[in-house]
């Protein structure tokens, strides 16, 4: 192994196996390589079966640095001998490793992921300058446009929904909370399109929604009634065990859309009042405001919406049980059924919730969850027996 053999060794072996005189063998070997060399210099490709192919390959001139002096020198274009080993020789040489085969590794390469994540902030940055331009355009038409945008939004909803799937939230809640993630995705999807008109629409939508949430957030107390209504619907939806009718979905969506539209109208009237007061600052002030709200609202927004609808998020620890959580948050063990109802998509068996399961505990509805009301407890217990019977089936 790893011996360095010379021409001498080759001729020895050849003379032995061919029963040749050493002198003749040497002559032959020398002729062998001389012919290869000569043929190469004649511009031919020399193919020797069982060994491989020799050919001359041109190397372009390139600049380099003299190692000792550090001066720049140019290496002239020249030729080099390329040797492509024969398949049989390759296999012969590789016999020690021939049993090895390429193995597919688990998991995908991480290369693609960071690129995807990068895309979002970049596009947002690109959009920023457009935003200012669009602000100069008349604001009065905004409300109307916004309303038609919400129509458009509804159309795209089924597709977006699947894209926006995120862990714990069930489909029903998804529909309600959808405006938050959607305004992000929508923006990123549409923004690459060059048409100014579309970009304008998308930006309007984004501004409208972010303003809507800004107002929703700041006027939360004022909106409380509507929130409650939403919550009731939500609780109703999740506590009904039969398949929920599609009309109910529509109602809830339309509700939320209506609320948004109202907010948008409010915001518009606000900004109009602003304009009336200071006609000169008209251009700069609203734009600054919207940018502020945009940045301020976005981080708040998601958690905010969740807070309104379902106050507590919990990761199941060791020994945690739904009944205990119910006792802790609702004041009575029987109300675990409502927690289960809100998390049916992540909990397969209410008697055995796997460790680390993220569940959310919905805001208690006083008409259903009231530890002091025996009727509520009775209802919850009735549900409990129903669930248990369903589990046993």
């Amino acid at each position: 192994m790893n011996k360095k053999l010379l021409l001498q060794d080759l001729t020895d072996q050849l003379s032995e196996s061919a029963k040749l005189k050493k002198k003749d063998a040497e002559e032959f070997i020398k002729a062998f390589f001389k012919v290869i060399e000569d043929s190469l210099f004649e511009g031919e490709v020399v193919k020797i079966p069982g060994l491989g192919t020799f050919k001359l390959v041109q190397v372009d001139s390139r600049k380099s640095v003299d190692v000792s002096t550090g001066e720049e020198i140019e290496i002239k274009e020249h030729f080099k001998i390329a040797f492509i080993p024969d398949q049989t020789l390759k296999e012969l040489v590789n016999t020690p490793f021939s049993y090895l085969e390429p193995v597919q590794l688990d998991g995908k390469a991480e290369v693609s992921k960071p690129i995807e994540q990068k895309r979002y902030p970049e596009k947002n940055l690109i959009q920023e300058p457009d935003l200012l331009e669009d602000k100069i355009k008349p604001q009065t038409s905004k409300a109307i446009k916004y309303e038609s945008m919400t129509q458009k939004k509804k159309d795209t909803e089924p597709i977006k929904e699947t894209e926006n799937r995120q862990g714990v939230e069930s489909k029903k809640e998804m529909k309600k909370t959808i405006p938050a993630p959607k305004n992000v995705t929508k923006k990123t999807y549409e923004s690459p399109k060059p048409s100014l008109g579309k970009a304008f629409w998308v930006i309007l939508l984004v501004i409208g929604i972010s303003l809507a949430f800004w107002v929703l957030w700041s006027n939360r107390s004022a909106m409380n009634d509507k929130d409650k209504k939403l919550n009731q619907i939500e609780l109703f939806d999740t506590t009904v065990y039969e398949d929920v009718k599609p009309e109910e979905f529509k109602n809830t969506i339309e509700d939320s859309v209506k609320i948004e539209a109202e907010i948008a109208a409010k915001v518009d009237s606000m900004s109009k009042a602003d304009k009336a007061g200071k006609p000169k600052a008209e251009k700069t002030k609203p734009s600054v405001k919207s940018e502020e709200t945009k940045t301020a609202v976005k981080p708040v927004l998601s958690s905010n919406v969740e807070k309104d609808n379902f106050p507590v998020f919990i990761t199941m620890g060791k020994g945690d049980m739904l009944t205990q959580l119910s006792l802790k948050y609702y004041g009575h063990k029987a109300f675990w059924v409502y927690i289960y109802a809100a998390n049916r998509n992540v909990i397969a068996d209410p008697n055995h919730v796997p460790l680390g399961t993220k569940i959310r505990i919905p805001k208690p509805d006083p008409s259903r969850i009231n530890a002091n009301d025996p009727n509520c407890i009775a209802k919850a217990k009735a549900l409990q027996t129903k669930i248990v019977s369903m589990q046993n089936k």
Binding site: S17, E27, I29, A31, F32, L51, V103
Partner: protein
């Protein structure tokens, strides 16, 4: 260049045993292959060196599917041009 032409040309350069040239060529290549398969290297003065190189294992990613593959190490026959030959090549400027 075909093998037949190659053998013919060797015959022109060899004084004796010209009938058995084809046989000798085959023997020479098989001896060379054997040397290489044992992991030895063979240096021919004025021509170059035949040797075996080990290519390390690596992880390759299919750019389309994103699947990762472990490519095992392998031994590859390699030819290094000798210095005399390199000198000759420097002064050679193609023959087309």
């Amino acid at each position: 260049m075909k093998n037949k032409d190659f053998i013919e040309r060797i015959q022109q350069n060899v004084s004796t045993n010209s009938e058995r040239t084809a046989e000798f060529v085959e023997m020479t290549t098989s001896i060379l292959a054997e040397i290489l398969s044992e992991g030895d290297s063979l240096a021919i003065k004025g021509f170059g060196t035949f040797e075996v190189k080990k290519k390390e294992e690596r992880i390759s990613v299919n750019p389309v599917t994103g699947n990762r593959w472990m490519i095992p190490p392998k031994l590859v026959p390699n030819f290094k041009t000798g210095s005399i030959m390199k000198e000759k090549l420097k002064n050679y400027s193609g023959n087309e």
